[in-house]
Symmetry: C2
Subunit: 153 residues, 2 copies
């Protein structure tokens, strides 16, 4: 949906984690925010990129993707990531509308689930947990890094 | 140091937190990454902006700055924030060198400490805790949001 020269359609922040509430064990937390103009076309490349990036440390110390780990994913809708400061306040004029955002977020989570199940192989205990769009939630995060990455699409 | 049309000199991710290890109570976690070309000139505006942005929820539900809260700050050096994906790997070619990064990080922390002490008023139990540059560290984070913000300078 976006090339390097234009504004992003989505912004994500990724953190490796050891454990996070909404319980996932070893895996990755993905904070996701969609901007105005984001559509479903964005999702295949977005999910594939995020799940295949080598951001996780394997038990042997090699960098592998969350699919290769295999690990779980916690997806957190995070509209605040779309903020731009104006004076001392944050404004969210470029964020996608609530309805479209909800739909895209649900589709994003479903696609993560699909790819993780397909990629992790039989017997791997991996899962996609996710926050509820538009709701405040308690998050506890244990990291042994932390490693925080920013990816825009 | 940077205007809107050029690459940022620093990237920060901010999270409101209830409690984080390296123990701070109510306050804010700032992940910070400096890019090549960042200098000390950047710090006054950067620290002032970050500490004065209204990103924290007061007990009465109003949005206030971490200075107004008053709250503590946990600063985490986070070089991974400077990464750009190439294929399935992250590359860090634009990150500042280790020595300059260490110096800027120390100055950033000192300046946060200064402004927080000056701003919080007498008797307020606020503090700046910080990670060690270049070291891996365990981070535990409890949020009641979470709210994650991205600010570039």
């Amino acid at each position: 949906m976006s090339d390097r020269s234009s504004a992003p359609a989505a912004r994500t922040v990724l953190q490796q984690c050891v454990q996070a509430t909404l319980q996932i064990d070893r895996g990755m937390v993905i904070y996701v925010c969609f901007f105005k103009g984001a559509t479903d076309d964005l999702l295949p490349k977005m999910v594939s990129t995020l799940l295949n990036l080598r951001l996780c440390e394997s038990p042997s110390g090699r960098m592998v993707s969350v699919l290769e780990l295999p690990g779980s994913v916690l997806v957190v809708p995070q509209a605040t990531l779309g903020g731009k400061s104006k004076g001392r306040s944050m404004q969210y004029h470029n964020n996608i509308g609530k309805e479209d955002g909800q739909r895209l977020y649900d589709a994003f989570v479903a696609r993560c689930q699909q790819e993780l199940e397909a990629g992790a192989g039989p017997g791997a205990e991996v899962t996609v947990k996710h926050g509820t769009y538009g709701n405040r939630q308690v998050l506890k995060l244990d990291t042994n890094g932390p490693y925080t990455h920013l990816m825009e699409f």
